[in-house]
């Protein structure tokens, strides 16, 4: 029982971070119908940013998100304005090629600059934990989960309660109609991509104290983000949140009861089953 609870809890905590990655991808897809295959690499940039803020300026990784979020937002907005904007009306395969290309440029540029060495960020609390009823809880993971919740709530508030947020959602629902209603969809796209990048960068910052950093780390998370987004329903933010936690739990619990080599098999089985019975994803509404 303790093992089951332990694995459930680990799954939920790590799932929170997965959700953050998934939400970023789903916002971008929702607004622009572009699948950002560079999402993991954006996360990797966030990790490196956190790493250098910590080693050079001694800013705690969890505090550093105050710096990381705006910087990553600007980075995302820049990518959107300079690159993505040009292919919005193009064929989907061209968009995919562009985002994959951007990802390759990012990971290889980082490799050139900082070599492929693994960087490990060691804070005082990196391996600290506490016990509740025989279940140990990792402190850094718990903090990052708390931050994830705060950010998700803030994001919901922004998207559902502010004018800009509603405009973004309107653009996601129907780009043409939104434009007819006087919404500046180009600006919404830039904000959406900036948000997506900021969320990925934040997730990178939150994982840094417990994971390791190297230029190709992004590919692991791009695939995860993609699975989470499709599982939750492309474009659905609530869906991505659910999807992230579900994948986290499936990995963790599946790892315990079927062997950790089977982890990915379990995840993709869940993924396939959901798609089989609900092709548009958990909370997706099939459009087109």
């Amino acid at each position: 029982m303790a093992v089951f609870l332990q694995s459930m809890l680990s799954g939920i905590l790590i799932g929170g971070v997965y959700a953050l990655i998934g939400i970023g991808l789903t916002i971008i897809f929702g607004v622009m119908r572009v699948i950002n295959f560079a999402h993991g690499d954006v996360l990797m940039i966030g990790m490196y940013m956190t790493y250098f803020l910590f080693t050079l300026l001694h800013i705690d990784p969890f505090v550093s998100i105050v710096v990381t979020i705006p910087l990553m937002f600007l980075f995302g907005a820049f990518l959107q304005k300079v690159f993505i904007n040009r292919v919005l009306g193009a064929l989907p395969q061209n968009q995919i090629l562009l985002t994959i290309g951007m990802g390759l440029v990012m990971s290889n540029a980082v490799m050139l600059a900082f070599t492929s060495d693994y960087k490990i960020l060691s804070t005082k609390y990196s391996s600290s934990s506490f016990n509740i009823l025989g279940i140990s809880i990792s402190s850094p993971l718990l903090i990052s989960f708390a931050i994830t919740i705060i950010i998700t709530v803030a994001l919901y508030w922004f998207l559902y309660r502010t004018d800009t947020g509603q405009a973004i959602r309107a653009t996601a629902q129907d780009r043409g109609a939104a434009q007819l209603m006087g919404i500046n969809v180009k600006r919404m796209s830039i904000i959406a991509f900036g948000l997506g990048a900021a969320l990925a960068g934040t997730a990178g910052a939150l994982i840094s104290p417990t994971y390791y950093i190297f230029p190709q780390v992004g590919s692991v998370f791009t695939l995860k983000a993609f699975v989470i987004t499709v599982l939750g329903g492309m474009g659905s933010i609530v869906g991505a949140t659910l999807g992230g936690v579900l994948i986290g739990i499936a990995e963790s619990v599946g790892g315990v009861y079927f062997g950790s080599g089977w982890k990915d098999v379990i995840v993709f089985m869940v993924f396939l089953l959901v798609l089989l019975f609900k092709p548009s994803g958990l909370l997706g509404t099939s459009k087109d």
Partner: protein, 386 residues
């Protein structure tokens, strides 16, 4: 007048015999220069750099062609193919990992080019009747034997848990450990092959803890080694001893994470404390040149390149002759006496004297066997620092 000059020239030539510049020996070197295994690959590269310097001092000029396999078997095979056919090297040293070495060993057989594997330890590599593959590295069997024998002498462990990554190296090390444990009467209570690169091993470690093992044997490369120990600390897994199978547990980056590395044992094939060759001086030279301390991988790669260079210098580009040289030759360097023999189902395999090192206060110290050690082992595991 002319005759006088010629005579003078002849006389001068007799006094100063022209320096015979030997033709350069063309050798290949395959390594994980980039990619996830790069931190250890760097040790191999540096070891080879020192070997090339020393070979030059011995009058052997090596024309070395380096290939990066990024740790992937298919790239490694392509690199070997290129070296063997396009560059026409006489012999090859490398690659690093077990997965790449196992793939390359079969390619070397096809292209009939001598391949000397410096640091990969999967047992099967030299157990498949290959004529062209030689190995300087000890095997995972050697790793498991020295670690578990040490454990049985220091304490009375009754149970063992194995956590290994599901790669060629990890699986081979786990199988070796199982075989040795059975011989020593240690019961296997938990076994898990994990896929590397996962951010969360907590649930697996919690299961291991529930099995209450005396010994926890881990096999992993560098990043996961740190992650596994961090999460072991979180979970509160605290057995009689943690023993690691070289690789990730032997690098200084692991040791420098003091609060999770103190007291962890790791098997190794070389340390600066061994009395072989000029190991101590070599260690200092390496540290001075590269600003880092070498792992056993560096020493193995150095010695492999020394052996390959010396053997190849006498054969004039003939691969078959080089193979014979490697089979019959004996060398004495920083790994002690090296020869490649057939035993226990192995072919062209060095019998390696293994050692055990333990991280004590952020530094690897040689602790076993006692006649080759500088420090006493800390036993049992002192527990996690708070």
């Amino acid at each position: 007048m002319n005759k006088a000059i010629v005579a003078l020239m002849l006389a001068l030539m007799c006094i100063f015999p022209a320096v015979v510049t030997a033709e350069a020996v063309k050798l290949g070197f395959i390594n994980s220069i980039t990619g996830p295994e790069a931190p250890i690959g760097e040790n191999l590269t540096n070891g080879v750099i020192l070997a090339i310097e020393d070979l030059k001092e011995k009058g052997i000029n090596v024309d070395l062609i380096k290939e990066d396999d990024t740790g992937k078997p298919e790239k490694s095979m392509a690199a070997l193919e290129k070296l063997a056919t396009r560059d026409k090297v006489v012999g090859i040293v490398g690659p690093y990992t077990s997965a790449t070495s196992n793939a390359d060993a079969k390619m070397a057989e096809r292209y009939k080019v001598p391949l000397l594997i410096p640091a990969a330890s999967k047992e099967e590599i030299t157990r498949q009747n290959l004529q062209w593959t030689f190995r300087t590295s000890g095997t995972t069997g050697d790793y498991a034997t020295i670690l578990l024998e040490m454990a049985s002498k220091l304490g009375q462990p009754k149970t063992l848990a194995i956590l290994n990554e599901n790669t060629d190296f990890g699986v081979s090390a786990a199988n070796s450990a199982k075989a040795v444990a059975e011989k020593l009467g240690i019961k296997l209570v938990f076994e898990e092959a994990y896929s590397k690169g996962s951010p969360d091993y907590r649930s697996t470690l919690a299961q291991a803890k529930a099995a209450k093992p005396d010994l926890v044997f881990m096999v992993s490369y560098v990043a996961d080694a740190i992650l596994l120990m961090r999460q072991s600390r979180e979970i509160g897994l605290s057995p009689m001893a943690f023993i690691g199978a070289g690789a990730g547990f032997s690098v200084s980056q692991f040791a420098s994470e003091k609060e999770i590395s103190h007291g962890i044992f790791s098997s190794t094939q070389w340390t600066e404390d061994v009395p072989w060759g000029n190991s101590k001086a070599w260690y200092q030279r390496y540290e001075k040149k590269f600003g880092k301390s070498p792992t056993y991988h560096a020493a193995c790669a150095y010695e492999s390149m020394m052996i390959m260079g010396q053997a190849a210098s006498t054969v004039g580009g003939d691969r078959e002759k080089l193979r014979q040289q490697l089979r019959t030759g004996k060398w004495n360097g920083i790994l002690g006496e090296v020869s490649f023999t057939d035993y226990d189902g192995y072919q062209n395999q060095r019998k390696a004297q293994m050692l055990v090192e333990q991280v004590q206060n952020g530094k690897h110290e040689t602790v076993w066997p006692s006649e080759l050690s500088a420090k006493k082992p800390i036993w049992p595991f002192p527990g996690w620092t708070k």
